[in-house]
Structures are given as C-alpha cells and as structure tokens.
C-alpha cells in the first residue's frame, strides 16, 4: 500500500514534466514538417494529352521520317564513355560516327540524377521535382506513375498510326520493353507494352545477369528474315551503372562492359533498315566514384546518340569530319562537354517531330535543330511552331499566344530557349507562407525548449550549454555545402575534442596512468569506428576496415559480438537464456541471409555448415527464399514475445528490466545491420564501458556512428538491403519503411537506447530536452540555410537531402526512439 502511494506520487511528479515535453516535441515536429512541406512542393502537372487540332492536321506535312524507333538506354552512360578515347571502348560506334551515321551529343540531365526522375524526364520532357528522387527509393508508390500523363509512350501508343490510316482503324503502336523494371513501375504492365521483361536493379553487385536478361531478347526481335513485331522497342541496360557503383568510373570492368554494349549496338544497327532510328543514351552520368544523384558535371553529363542507316542521315556538311572532329576524341574536357551540348529533355520534342506526333503536354524540351536537317523548310517551321505552341501553353496557360506565324526558325528557337529557361527555374515553386511559418515556429519552439530546460533542470545546465553549442556549430556548418556533404568530419572533430578534454579534465578518481589507459582504450575504439567505413562524398578509400577485413575474421568477430552480448547476463539465467536464444537466431539469420544474397565464398565453410544443420533442425531449406522470410519472422516474433515477457516478469525491478530490454533491442539492431558492420557493435559495447554516460556522449556517438556505418547526407547511400528482412512480395509499405529506418539508423538507435540512463527517471527528460534543444538549434540554421540556398546549384544534391535526413532524424530519433522506446517500452 505504502509502496503504491510512493509509486503514484513519483509518477505524478514526473508526469508534470512529461506533458510539457510532449507538447514541445510535437510543436517542434510540426514546425519542421511545415517547413519541409513548403520546401518540397508537389508540382502542378497539366492534365490531358496533346493532339493535333484539325487545322494543324490539315496544315502539316505529316510524313513520318522514320517508321521504327529503338531506345537503347545504358544506365549511367557518361558522355566521356562514348566519346573520350581513354575512357571509351565504343569502337564500332566511333566508326559509324566517322562515317556519318550518328548524331552525337552530350546531354545535360537535370538533377536529381537518379533513374526514376530521369526516366520521367526522358519520356515526358518535364523537369523533375525532388520528391521524385525520394520516391525512387520508396519503390512501391503509385503517385510516381505516368500511366495517365502525356508522354512519348502515350503518344506512340495512341497516335502512332493515326495519321497514316486517315482516321480509320487506329491500331496502337506495338511497344516492347526489356530492362530496368522502373519503366514498368512508371507505365504499368497492363496497357502500353505488348511484350516486356523487367529486371530488378536490387542487387547492385551483379552486372552480368542484369544485362544478359535484356540481350537475350535481341535475337528474337531483330530478325531480318521475319516481319517486325514492334514499332518502338526500349532496351534499358543496368550493368554499367552497377559497375560504377561497385568500382567507380575507372573500374576494370568498365571497358569490357562498354565493348559488350558496343557489340549490341553494332548488331542492332546491322539488323535494322533505313527507316529505323536508334537512340543510344544514358539516363544520367556518374562521378568518378561511380555514384550519382547530385549535380556535379560528371553526374549531369549523359551521352546521347542518334543512329540510323539512312544515307545522308548526317549531311556531309555537318559531319564531324568536316569540323575536324573524329571519334574517339583525344582531348580531355573537364566538364565532360564532348561534341554539342543539348538538354536531355530536348530529346522528347525531337523524337516527336521525327515521328510526326504531338509533343507531350508537360514537355520543357526544345527540338534539337541539327536533327531537322532532313526536313524541308516548311516542315521545319511547322514542327518548331508546334514545339513553340506547346511550350507557350505550358508557360502562359491559356493566355493568347502572340501570333508569330512568320517567325524565322532561329527566332523561334531563341524564343523557345528563353521559355525553357524560365520553365526550368519555375520548376520549384516554394510555398513561402509555409516556409516562413515553419522558420518562425521552429525558432519559437526551440527557445521554449531551452528556457524550459534551463529553468527546470539546474543541474543539467552545463550539458545544456554544451549541446547547444554543438548545435550552433553544426548549424553554422550547414551554410557550407561541403560541410553538409562531409558532416562526418565535423562530428569526428567535435568528438575528438570532447573525449580528450573529458578524459583529462573530468574529476573522476582515475590516477594519471588510469586516465592514460582510459584515453587509449576510448580513442582506439573511436578510431576503429572512424576507420570502419567510408562516409561523405568527397573521398572514398579502398582500404577501410570493412573492406580489408578477411571474411573468416569478420564472421568470427560477428560471432564474438553476439556472444559478448550474452556475457553481462551470466548471473541471471532467465535473461541469459533469452539473450542467447536471440543471439543464436540472429547469427544464423545473418549467415543464411548472406548465403542467399551474397557470394558463397564470403562465408567460412564451418559457419555455413553450422547454419545448414540448424536449418535442417527446424525443417528449413538453405536454398529456399521463402524459408529466409519465415526465419526472419520467427526472429521478430520471438523478439516481440521476449520484450512483452520481460515487461511482466521483471515488472518490479525496472533497472534490471531496462538492462535486458536494451540488449534485446541491440540484437534486433544487429539483425538489421550489414554483416560487415556487426563487429562495430562489439566496439560500441567496449566504448560504452569506457566513457561516461550522458546526453552529450549519446549525441556525439549517435551521429558519429551513423556516418561511420556508411551513412551520408545524400540519398545515394540509403540502404535498402536490410529493409526487406522477413518481407514477402505482398508487403506493407509502412513495415518496409520502418525496417528501412531501423537498418539505416541502427547505430544511432543503439546509442539512444544503450547508454545507461541512471535510475533516476529525471534523466530521461533532461536527455530528451537536450536532444530537442540540439535538434531545434540545428534546425533553425538548417532551415535558414535551405531557405537562403534555395536557388543554389546544389539545392537538389546537398540541401534537400540534408533536410530530408533531418526530418527523418527528428521524427524517428526524437519521437519514436527516444520517446516511445526509452519512455514506454523499456
């Protein structure tokens, strides 16, 4: 009875703090969301489809220049891969160019340079919005499809045979598609494509199968002895991109892969007739590390070639040889601007005019004038006029066009370039009301957080000052784009200072030699964490620890890590059994998973045999993908059951309960981490004992370890491989989203959960308030920086992703992890 009263009194005194903190937390989250909604607007898209009016139909010449179209999209085909001698192995293509069968360009692809937004651009001619780049990650999303938007595909499907058959018996164009299944996501599988074969780009390490999967369809479809079964064929090759991701632009596999692509191009060229147009292009480029997504020259410079057998496709006077240009080019161009430079979306109106089709409504491209060389003057003027009308409509709405029917071609083109430039700038219309509202409310809420913290927790003031100054430092750093890209360096910088001062200035009881010993252990751990993975976008090193550690050793370390989690419970049989059970399942699952997804030779035999034994013990098959899913679900179920069990079993000993629950969560985090990162948890465990607990250590280590797990502030490093553990085909997007968060933020969650909070519940509040204060101060500066840099060149590649990470971090870390996990589950 007495105990209950005490308990309820205690609860009351703390609930007096928890309500204001929840309110402050919610206000902060709301203001961050306000700002980001204003910052990531969804674009207005013109509905409906473009078509020729009767007048236009009567006016125009309406003769198709080509009958058939072949799209060969080679993912991440940077322009120098096509044209620059030391980087290029497209020998046949070079020959064709020098003979005058190829128009070659360097195409500027608008950032974000990831596949989905680029495909949207290539097919609709529109400029992408940043949300597309995020949707590229969220694989299953219906808002990103183009089924009901005007696009090249729609126009081909609906209008291709329209004109030739005089309005009677309209049969859709036969479109075939082979390659990256992003296309199928965009256009669906039910309508446009008569035949298709999608390839999943999930396993980046494979660059042979993905391409063979496309190439095997070539013989069937390019058979000169048979009638053609298609009008428009799309081949999307992924291998080159995968090589880039794996080994960078100078990978040893790059030139052979280009040779393979070149053979395919030659083969298709040989087997097509004079009425076929072949378009070879990259959807985007890559930087020298093989990554893409940003706006550097390498990433935005894709190659673009128009190839046709037609005699005089490139008129004599305009051939490269006339201007002393022979492929391959030997002179290096640091901007990757080889041959003529066009915008990638210019492809859309160009193709449409070559096939006499209406230009898609949302197109921002301008016809590439060189390709009109085979047109008569009146034809040329007609198509340019069509392009101009379409752009005018997009830019000015229904405003009456100033009639300029007698404009010269050059005048039309220059007018169109002006409209194009304006449209591209207009592509991002920020919602300024929300931006200002968000900025003000985040400022006000942060002030409240700090005042509340300062006022109510006097003992916490020194921590408050330090976290606030870290927030200030980080906040100021967001104004430099390179500091955002290399944020891990700043965290390391602060961590080194904090830990070295902490070790030597703290008033703990260690003697000098004890302090030196503590310093050595702490810094060795930190240095190992730091050296484990690459982070940031500027440098990528071959010999980081996760790369050079031998596989045998790695898996032994993984085992040791999991065993080390059992040891602290050796005096409590119940807890020991729980943790051992989970550790064993986790270890088996990680090996099972690696056997299914990775190379067999990365796992020592004795471990794979062990797993085979375990699996046969519970009636599972090592080769079955279904069993992998079942196995993961088994883990989740046991994990959940144990959390609930402990809640009841240890209800009277909260300190002990917290201790065990933390370890269960740690094993869950290990399950969601990449195998090569698991030993880091062992280092974390050691580090945890060496350093004093507290909100500053939590703050520093959660960010440091997030970056040193391979995380960066770009969307390119969002890791999806562990987001599908235990997920079958008919998955729930929220579950995948949750697992994705966990697997990317695993180390940060660890530090938020694992740092031993003292028995005093007050510490949970100060910890949360400190972290809210940090997020708030950081947020003020970040939002301000995003606002000021909204027209910066790097807005898509640096500031917007950073803002996304920030939103995810504050939602996920402060709200879900800190508040729900630490506050409720433990």
């Amino acid at each position: 009875m007495k105990g209950r009263i005490q308990k309820s009194m205690r609860r009351q005194s703390f609930s007096s703090h928890s309500l204001p903190i929840i309110i402050l937390l919610c206000i902060q989250l709301a203001s961050i969301f306000l700002f980001s909604i204003g910052y990531f607007p969804s674009k207005n898209i013109l509905q409906g489809y473009n078509g020729y009016s009767d007048q236009e139909r009567a006016l125009g010449p309406h003769t198709k220049k080509f009958d058939k179209l072949v799209f060969i999209i080679i993912d991440a085909l940077r322009s120098d891969f096509l044209y620059y001698k030391p980087m290029s192995n497209f020998t046949n293509l070079h020959k064709l160019y020098n003979e005058g069968h190829v128009w070659g360009f360097t195409a500027y692809s608008n950032p974000p340079t990831v596949t989905l937004p680029r495909l949207k651009g290539i097919t609709t001619g529109s400029t992408p919005i940043f949300l597309d780049a995020i949707l590229n990650v969220a694989e299953d999303d219906s808002s990103s499809n183009l089924k009901d938007q005007d696009s090249i595909i729609w126009q081909f499907y609906n209008n291709f045979n329209h004109n030739t058959t005089n309005d009677t018996a309209i049969s859709p164009a036969r479109i075939k598609f082979f390659g990256d299944d992003t296309w199928l996501k965009l256009f669906g599988t039910d309508r446009f494509f008569t035949e298709f074969d999608g390839t999943n780009s999930f396993f980046v390490s494979d660059f042979i199968e993905v391409d063979n999967n496309v190439t095997r369809h070539i013989d069937d479809n390019f058979d000169t002895t048979r009638d053609s079964t298609w009008d428009f064929i799309i081949l999307h090759y992924l291998g080159l991109d995968h090589i880039g991701h794996k080994g960078g632009a100078n990978s040893v596999h790059m030139l052979p892969k280009q040779g393979e692509m070149d053979e395919i191009i030659q083969k298709i060229y040989d087997k097509t007739d004079e009425d076929t147009l072949i378009v070879i292009m990259g959807d985007h480029g890559m930087n020298d590390l093989g990554n893409h997504g940003g706006s550097s020259n390498g990433e935005t410079s894709a190659g673009l070639c128009f190839v046709s057998k037609r005699p005089n496709f490139v008129p004599d006077s305009q051939r490269g040889s006339k201007h002393n240009i022979h492929l391959p080019i030997e002179k290096y161009n640091e901007n990757y601007a080889y041959l003529d430079k066009v915008s990638q979306i210019d492809l859309v109106p160009t193709i449409m005019s070559l096939f006499d089709l209406p230009i898609p409504k949302n197109n921002v491209g301008v016809i590439i004038p060189q390709l009109l060389s085979s047109f008569s003057d009146s034809e040329k003027n007609f198509y340019l006029m069509e392009n101009y009308k379409q752009l005018w409509k997009l830019f000015n709405g229904d405003k009456r066009m100033s009639l300029l029917y007698n404009m010269s071609d050059t005048k039309l083109l220059s007018e169109m370039y002006i409209i194009q430039k304006n449209l591209m700038e207009q592509a991002t219309e920020y919602n300024y009301t929300l931006l200002y509202l968000g900025l003000v409310s985040i400022f006000v809420s942060t002030m409240f957080v700090i005042i509340y913290n300062y006022h109510n927790f006097p003992s916490n003031r020194s921590n408050l000052i330090i976290t606030s100054s870290i927030g200030l430092l980080l906040g100021i750093s967001t104004f430099g784009s390179s500091f955002v890209e290399e944020e891990h360096q700043i965290w390391w910088w602060i961590t080194v200072l904090y830990f070295s001062t902490n070790v030597f200035l703290s008033n703990n009881t260690y003697s000098t030699s004890g302090k030196i010993f503590q310093f050595l252990i702490t810094f060795t751990c930190l240095r190992l964490i730091r050296g484990w993975n690459n982070s940031g976008t500027k440098f990528s090193y071959e010999n980081v620890l996760s790369n050079i550690i031998p596989f045998n050793l790695l898996w032994c370390f993984n085992l040791v890590t999991l065993v080390s989690l059992m040891l602290p419970h050796k005096h409590d049989y119940v807890a020991f059994t729980e943790i051992s059970l989970l550790s064993i399942i986790c270890f088996n699952y990680k090996i099972f998973w690696s056997l299914k997804h990775g190379d067999y030779n990365t796992i020592p035999d004795y471990f794979s045999n062990l797993v085979k034994c375990t699996l046969s013990f519970i009636d599972m098959d090592i080769d079955s993908a279904q069993d992998l899913i079942t196995f993961a679900r088994l883990f989740y179920k046991i994990c959940g059951a144990l959390l609930a069990f402990n809640r009841i079993y240890y209800r009277n000993v909260p300190a002990k309960r917290h201790f065990i629950q933390k370890y269960i969560i740690t094993i869950f985090l290990i399950l969601q981490s990449a195998p090569q990162n698991i030993p880091l948890f062992l280092i974390f465990e050691i580090l945890k004992f060496c350093c004093s607990s507290g909100s500053i250590v939590t703050l520093l280590l959660q960010y440091l370890s997030f970056f040193q797990f391979g995380g960066t502030n770009t969307i390119a490093t969002i890791n999806l491989t562990n987001a599908y553990n235990g997920i079958s085909n008919d998955y729930n997007i929220y579950v995948v989203g949750f697992l994705m968060f966990v697997s990317n933020f695993a180390p940060s969650i660890y530090w938020n959960v694992a740092i031993p909070l003292d028995k005093k519940e007050k510490n949970i509040y100060t910890d949360l308030l400190n972290s809210l204060g940090f997020t708030g101060i950081y947020g003020i500066f970040l939002c301000l920086s995003c606002y000021m840099n909204r027209y910066h060149l790097f807005v898509w590649s640096v500031f917007s992703p950073k803002l996304c990470y920030y939103v995810a971090y504050s939602l996920f870390m402060n709200f879900i992890v800190k508040f729900l996990t630490v506050g409720c589950i433990l």
Binding site: S481, F483, Q489, S500, F523, R527
Partner: protein, 246 residues
C-alpha cells in the same frame, strides 16, 4: 591634463598588475600543480650533476619545490615562428622547415624562454647544455613517436605508408615546437605542471586547423598534413605568447 591622467591610470594599472602578480605567486604556492605528477624520485646523479653546474632546483626545507613561473614579458613571444609559417605556406616544404625550425627553436629556448622561466621566485637557471642536447636529439624524436600514435588515434589517415610518414613528420614538428617546454619539464624533474598548457596549445592549434579539410576548394594546402603543421605553428605562437598570462 589628459596625459597626466593617462600616466596616473597606467600607474594604477601597473600597481594592479604587480599586485596581481604577487597574489598569483602566492596562489601558485598553494594551488600549483606541484606534485600532481609522478611521485618524487631521488635521481641523485642528475641532481649531482646539476649541483656541479650550480643550476639545480632548490628545495624547501619540507622537501617541496619552489614554484616555477614564466615571466610575463614580450620576450617570450616566439616571433620567429611567424616567418617560418610564412615560408611553409609559400613552399609547403616540410623538410626545409626542419632545418629552419631547429636552430631557431634552440635559440628561442636559450635566449628567450629560459630567461623568462623563473625558479623559486627569483632565479633563472643557467643553460643545462647536456639537457639541451639530450632533449633535442633523443626526447623530441621519441616523443614524436608517441605523438604519432596520438595523431593516429585522433584521426590521422592510415591509408598508406606515405600518410604515416607525413604524420610522423607532423608530430616531429609538433614536438620541435614544444621543445622549450620539454626542456623545461626535464629541467624541473617532471615536477611542474605549468608547462602543460604549451602542449595543449599546440594540440589545440592542430585540432582547430582541421576544419579546412572537408572544404571542397581542392587547394594544395588542404592536403594532409599541411593545415595541421600551420595550425600547430600558430597554436605554438599563441601558446608561448600568452602562456605566461594563463
């Protein structure tokens, strides 16, 4: 009129300063870092040699040491470091920098730092030539091995041997910069904590200079270890210049 006031005020400030000095001296007797480091050792031979050169540290009757202070004087400012940094920023020649730094640091120690290090409230020791040479030839290289380990633990790149060599050169420079402090620590039988701040200043300079590394300016001076060398020199300059006042 005003000049009179000025002189008055300057007099006052001077007396204030002298008072402060006195107070500080007193304070340092009670709160100095004495005997916080290592238990006293009776290194007889060393003391004996020191006595023979009449430069040993006198002990109080109760066996504790007299305080050691660095005089607040413009002559402790290591002006020679500025042209050295300037030279380095022009050439990035880390080897030549050695040949320039070694003699100037020895000169600085002998004629500037030593002359401002006051023992027992009044005494300036004569140069202990053996120690000058020993600390330069043995202590500095040995300590720079330790410093290399510290640099690596604090994040120095370990990507290849050439990086390691650069890190070693960097720590050699840092130890050379702390050479006057090393000499003084030896000369005080390790008993004096006031020289810690010079090491801290150099380390802090190196730490602070690191913030230029992530910038995407792609300049040569962002390469390892150039910013740290410059930061270390500037940190040493500031440290030796204001060390006496802290």
């Amino acid at each position: 009129m005003s000049s009179v006031q000025n002189t008055n005020s300057s007099n006052i400030s001077a007396t204030n300063a002298s008072n402060a000095k006195k107070r500080k001296v007193k304070k340092s007797v009670t709160f100095s870092d004495y005997d916080t480091v290592i238990t006293p050792v009776t290194n007889g031979s060393h003391n004996g040699r020191n006595k023979s050169t009449s430069s040993s540290i006198e002990k109080r009757p109760d066996g504790s040491h007299y305080p050691v202070v660095v005089r607040k004087s413009i002559s402790t400012v290591p002006f020679h470091l500025i042209p050295l940094v300037y030279y380095y920023m022009k050439t990035y020649d880390i080897y030549t920098l050695f040949y320039l730094t070694i003699p100037t640091q020895v000169f600085y120690l002998l004629f500037q730092f030593r002359k401002n290090t006051i023992f027992a409230g009044k005494k300036i020791l004569k140069p202990n030539w053996a120690l000058v040479i020993v600390s330069l030839v043995f202590a500095v290289p040995l300590l720079s091995c330790v410093a290399t380990i510290i640099f690596i633990l604090a994040g120095a790149p370990l990507l290849s041997l050439s990086y390691l060599k650069q890190t070693f050169l960097l720590s050699l420079h840092c130890c050379l910069l702390s050479y006057p402090a090393i000499y003084s620590v030896f000369n005080c039988d390790f008993k004096v904590g006031i020289f810690k701040k010079y090491f801290v200043a150099i380390a802090f300079g190196c730490w602070l200079s690191c913030f230029v590394i992530p910038l995407d300016w792609d300049r040569e001076w962002q390469n390892w270890p150039i910013p740290l060398v410059i930061g270390g020199y500037l940190g040493a300059f500031v440290g030796y210049a204001v060390g006496a006042y802290i």
